[in-house]
């Protein structure tokens, strides 16, 4: 039939053994992240399934944590409800404090600061991201806490009629408010780094066009730069949220862990899943350790979801740009 049609010649190459070995090794190495993430999920789940089969959803919803007597799991009470709510409250407040400041700093760095100031500012912000969390904890405990306690008293004095600012027992140290301030300082560099990048990529000609139409600098920022960077800022915020949810030692030092859900953010009582794991680890019974593994699994899944979502958003913007 169509025998005379020209067929492209199929080229086949046989890779050499050395290349096949090389590609095998590199592929295996490339899969490490997948393997490690899988192993983390499998190990934590296998070590903690007794907790979930004993308590079920109550592990997530109940607030009490009473160690068992060492015999069976059911002689104790394991629930991370208060810790989980506490984690979400402090992380949400940290985001609330950090995002406006980080966005302001990023806008200043990209569109207001004189040229000589930009490199040092970038360097300082990157430096801030490199400070170990234990140093933030130390500073938060000795320097920030006395100041923030004073702020707490003021807020309570003037705004105490708002339920969340009321304080049943007037103790203001180691509160969710203070913990969220420390977390905010820790995540500002993360959000700023990403916001700075997307704001710097804002199309120059659109900005010039806005000026040509008579816009002031702020109007140009509001109509061109900020909308351009919105998705990037959302992604950076979620990366910061992931960090805030998983932060351990810094929060451990400035937060008083109390195993009851507490909405009074100025009160010296809060919760944090990550800090609880470190706090209970030292003198935990074997069954309790399984409870901690279960808490770790919940935290792992929570941060994984937040981070995956954040990366999706960030990647979508960097492609669009």
């Amino acid at each position: 039939m169509a025998d005379n049609a020209v067929q492209p010649r199929t080229i086949t190459t046989t890779p050499r053994t050395s290349d096949r070995v090389f590609r095998g090794i590199v592929t295996a190495g490339g899969l490490t992240s997948l393997i490690i993430l899988g192993l983390i999920a499998i190990f934590l789940a296998s070590k903690s399934h007794a907790v979930f089969s004993t308590f079920g959803w109550h592990f997530i919803t109940d607030a009490t944590w009473n160690p068992d007597d060492g015999t069976t799991m059911s002689t104790g009470q394991y629930g991370i409800g208060a810790m989980l709510v506490g984690t979400l409250i402090t992380a949400a407040m940290a985001i609330l404090f950090a995002v406006p400041v980080a966005v302001g700093l990023a806008l200043f760095m990209t569109h207001y600061a004189p040229a000589w100031m930009r490199t040092p500012l970038t360097l300082l912000v990157d430096l801030m991201a490199a400070i170990p969390s234990i140093v933030f904890g130390l500073w938060g405990f000795f320097v920030l806490m006395p100041i923030a306690m004073h702020w707490s008293e003021l807020i309570n004095h003037y705004l105490g009629w708002i339920p969340i600012f009321s304080v049943p027992v007037p103790i203001f140290d180691r509160s969710p408010f203070i913990a969220s301030l420390v977390l905010a300082v820790m995540i500002v560099p993360i959000i700023t780094a990403i916001a700075r990048e997307v704001y710097a990529q804002a199309p120059r000609d659109h900005i010039e066009a806005a000026y040509a139409l008579g816009a002031t600098k702020w109007v140009a920022l509001r109509t061109v730069v900020i909308p351009h960077g919105r998705a990037g800022v959302v992604g950076g915020t979620m990366l910061g949220l992931g960090r805030a949810l998983g932060e351990t030692v810094a929060v451990y030092m400035v937060l008083n862990l109390v195993y009851a859900v507490n909405w009074h953010v100025l009160q010296s009582a809060g919760g944090s899943v990550a800090s609880m794991i470190v706090n209970k680890f030292g003198e935990a019974t074997p069954n309790e350790v399984q409870g901690l593994m279960a808490a770790g699994l919940v935290l792992f899944l929570l941060t994984l979801v937040v981070n995956l979502a954040a990366n999706l958003v960030v990647r979508r913007t960097s492609r669009g740009a």
């Binding site: 590609r23 190495g29 400070i131 320097v143 990550a274 994984l304």
Partner: protein
Amino acid sequence: MATVVPTRPWRATPQVLATEAAGLAVALVLMLLTLRFTGFSGPLAAALLFIVYATAISAGLEGRRRGLRAAQDAFVRALLITATVVVLLPLVSIMWTVIDNGRAALRPNFFTQDLTSASATGPVDQGGAAQAIVGSIELVGFATLIAMPLGILSALYLTEIRGRLSGAIRFLTQAMAGVPSVVAGLFVYSAWVLGPGKGFSGFAGALALAILMLPTVARTAEEVLKLVPEHLREAGLALGGTQWRTVATIVLPTARSGLITAGILGVARIAGETAPLILTVFGAVAINTSMFNGPMSALPLYVFNELKLGLDMAYARAWTGALVLMVLVLVLFAFARWLGGRKTR
């Protein structure tokens, strides 16, 4: 003949300068009144109140002079400068307090002695953090040995093989960067310390640190390998080299300084990690050079444990530990920056 006097409308007239100065004076008075009659007190509150009042007043004056839009513009500018100051303030405060408080116990014995002979209440010229420094070097060294090859292999997969899994691997590496450090510690505790490791050991700590280090190395190495010009790879293959020879003799040597930067950034990332070490190496007062036998100490762990003692002398030691740790991390960071900056030039 009327002489034409050139006007300079962009220059501030004495009248404008006077109103500006008056505005600042009003802001100052308002601040003092607020401090006097409300609960606000202290230099921080004074600065904050002054910024708020001065911003509002100068925006108002600008508005009277040039209209609402100019007022908005001035207001936003003041707000952004305030945000910058608000971020730099804690940074300066952290640096200053760590240096100031860390000086007291910064003596030669801090680097040469361990804590076996010193009591917790003892003076700071007895005992030190030698066990923590030795431990940190061992832990970070081992973690680097594990994470560097794996991280570079991940990056090579993304830049050299470019297989079907590239998207998934890049995605998962980023997800891995978000794993909370305490979860990495718990994982190693359940998989190694309770299992084949038979108890706390330096190796367990190095495993946990390697998990945290790997994504940083992989991501930075990928960026660096991407910068290797494509025609170098093609030249290698055209000379009849296998892919393996091309990568080993051309791609990797070209990217060498960048790969070192990746390693240093990874080390800076893990050198200050505390939470995973609490769960895997536990801490010790004596030098333990064995990676596989018994608990050991590390600088962040030393700071954490001294702090938990709640004694003045222990606090002094904790601050010095933090100072040494921070200087270490900042030096690594500056070195990585310098290497990276040199390469792009």
